[in-house]
């Protein structure tokens, strides 16, 4: 187990390092940000002076080493645009995004588990068909459009929920709903397939032959077996979920990391980009390592093979 964790850790470090390097290369390729920071009537020499002040006149290798040192010390420098600590800005936005991602994931997976269990328990073709259709319809509506429709219905017409901002629990509802429905569809598919696969396993037959209730078998035997691979997928999906929040953050003016990062990328605000990407990559590797360790603890088979 220790060796396993050590290997995962090495992989994690390599991942973060690779992400930072890609960010650096892409960043330097996108051009120097000076011209974006000054008003329209600033002249070329003003811009050059600013770029020099930001350190863009140094050799690339020096800039890269500087970035790596920043990575180790946790000091990514100040945002060019906002003139505040980049890491501070990123950390300030993290709770909002985590809140969104967490609830979307939690609600999505809880509903998916409930739905998949209901399908298995009732064996109802009708239920599976309904869920299948609902999933297909949700998957055919881009997030930004789905969010807009939610806002039109719940904020503009019914007036029951705020349409933007992060002010109260009520303002969490619509953005989470947008993301959670997408998550729900995905996990429902995975779980339904996994449970259906488990249903054909011999151990299920054994339990039923002992006189166990189908529901008991479903909850205590099949579900743990089915959810393990789904958890693994969920961990891998984290990057996708964080990426998916960008659109929702824009539509709901949700002060999250996604919006900050996309803006920073287009505005060439490299300190934020680097701090943000390192955060995302770290979150990704930590969550995935945790999931792997968890799965290995629950399923000790994988540890011995």
């Amino acid at each position: 187990m220790l060796l396993f964790i050590a290997r995962r850790l090495a992989l994690a470090v390599a991942t973060v390092l690779a992400v930072v390097t890609i960010a650096f290369v892409l960043g330097r390729a996108t051009g120097e940000p000076g011209a974006l920071l000054l008003p329209d009537n600033a002249t070329r020499s003003d811009v050059d002076a600013l770029n020099a002040a930001l350190g863009f006149d140094r050799p690339l290798i020096v800039q890269y080493l500087d970035t790596l040192v920043g990575l180790v010390t946790g000091d990514f420098g100040d945002s060019y645009r906002l003139r505040e600590s980049a890491l501070g800005l990123v950390l300030e936005r993290v709770p909002a995004t985590i809140e969104l991602a967490f609830w979307a994931f939690a609600i999505g997976i809880v509903l998916a588990v409930a739905g998949a269990l209901a399908i298995q328990l009732t064996g109802s073709r009708v239920l599976r068909a309904i869920v299948g259709w609902a999933g297909a319809i949700r998957q055919s509506v881009p997030d930004f459009f789905f969010a807009l429709l939610l806002v039109l219905v719940f904020s503009v017409i019914l007036g029951v929920l705020p349409s933007l901002g992060r002010t109260s629990y009520a303002s969490l509802v619509l953005p989470v709903l947008t993301l959670a429905t997408g998550q729900f569809v995905m996990y429902l598919r995975l779980l339904d397939a996994a449970l259906s696969e488990q249903a054909g396993q011999d151990y299920v037959r054994t339990a039923i032959a002992q006189g166990q209730r189908r529901s008991t078998v479903l909850f205590t035997r099949m579900l743990p077996n089915a959810i393990l691979p789904v958890l693994g997928m969920a961990g891998l999906n984290l990057g996708g979920l964080l990426g998916g929040t960008v659109v929702v953050e824009v539509v709901f003016a949700w002060p999250g990391l996604g919006k900050l990062l996309t803006d920073a990328v287009s505005q060439r605000d490299f300190p934020i980009v680097q701090a943000g990407l390192v955060f995302v990559a770290l979150a990704f590797v930590i969550v995935n390592t945790a999931v792997d360790v968890l799965v290995r603890r629950i399923d000790t088979r994988t540890a011995t093979s």
């Binding site: 892409l26 390729a29 055919s140 997030d143 990057g239 060439r268 990407l277």
Partner: protein
């Protein structure tokens, strides 16, 4: 089974009986494909011709524009047909690229294992840990955003799912005797890979690809929202819905019609793909006692 030495051939003709979902799916997808194929042949087809004075005509109001016109007075039917071709084309290209790369990588990792596998895990972790949207924005800042770029970036990064599945399949194939046996007969790895591993892996790839179509359509349309993707004046579903949603209050069809077509296509593919994936669906054994 009889015990005579020469058994009579027992052809396993499994009659392919489509489930209702598959029929519905085929009809849905088929209608979109038909639309993309037939509309360009119609006399009034011109997705680019603008007429600002005939902008925002509602559907069925003008015989020249059966589905009406958009904000620049362009024929909506023509544009939907072109958008369908463009989006489906992009999606198919991306899916094919992902499937090829993912399967290639997965097969190598699964078959050879070891260091190569570690490297591939690292690469796939990096692509997963780096949100594709950010990557695309950054790349678009260097190069101009274009459909080609989107295809390239998504095509080169979204393959991890394929790699994971094919790696598992290839790893289990590696232990199968029929993969080992050609080696004992003098074959090399290339022979084994091309004749035994690849043909047995690719059905799995196909299944993922079918379910991935919906995901890719959704991702590309989200990217249109951020201005990354097919560039005007060429339409795509995502950009048509995005442009149309600004007129949602007055002229909702602008967003809803392309949305409907997207639903038909995405839903269609999904119902069709369930044909492959859900073979043994059923409750726990059987329900309701002896019956």
């Amino acid at each position: 089974m009889t015990t005579s030495l020469v058994a009579s051939p027992a052809p396993v003709v499994r009659r392919w009986r489509p489930r209702p979902g598959a029929v519905v799916g085929a009809i849905m997808l088929g209608s979109v494909l038909l639309l993309t194929a037939v509309v360009p042949l119609l006399p009034g087809y011109d997705p680019m011709a603008q007429d600002l004075r005939a902008a925002l005509l509602p559907p069925l109001s003008d015989p020249g524009h059966p589905l009406g016109t958009d904000a620049l007075g362009r024929d909506l039917l023509s544009r939907i047909a072109l958008a369908s071709a463009v989006t489906l084309g992009m999606t198919v290209l991306i899916v094919i690229m992902n499937a090829l790369i993912g399967s290639f990588v997965g097969i190598l990792a699964g078959y050879f294992g070891g260091r190569l596998e570690t490297l591939i895990t690292l690469v796939s972790n990096v692509t997963l840990a780096m949100p594709v949207v950010l990557l695309l924005i950054a790349i678009c800042a260097v190069l101009r955003p274009s459909a080609g770029l989107t295809i390239l970036v998504l095509g080169l990064t979204w393959w991890v799912g394929y790699a994971r599945v094919t790696r598992n399949v290839a790893a289990s194939l590696r232990r199968q005797d029929f993969v080992v046996s050609p080696l004992t007969q003098g074959a090399d790895s290339i022979w084994v890979l091309t004749r035994h591993v690849v043909p047995n892996v690719w059905p799995h790839t196909l299944i993922i690809a079918a379910t991935d179509v919906a995901t890719i359509v959704l991702i590309t349309s989200s990217l249109e929202y951020l201005g990354l993707g097919v560039q005007p004046p060429v339409p795509s579903w995502g950009s048509m819905i995005f442009d149309g949603q600004r007129h949602l209050a007055g002229d909702p069809w602008l967003a809803l019609l392309p949305g409907l077509v997207m639903l038909l296509a995405v839903g269609g593919v999904q119902f069709l793909s369930q044909q492959f994936t859900a073979e043994t669906r059923g409750g726990l054994l059987r329900k309701g006692g002896m019956r």
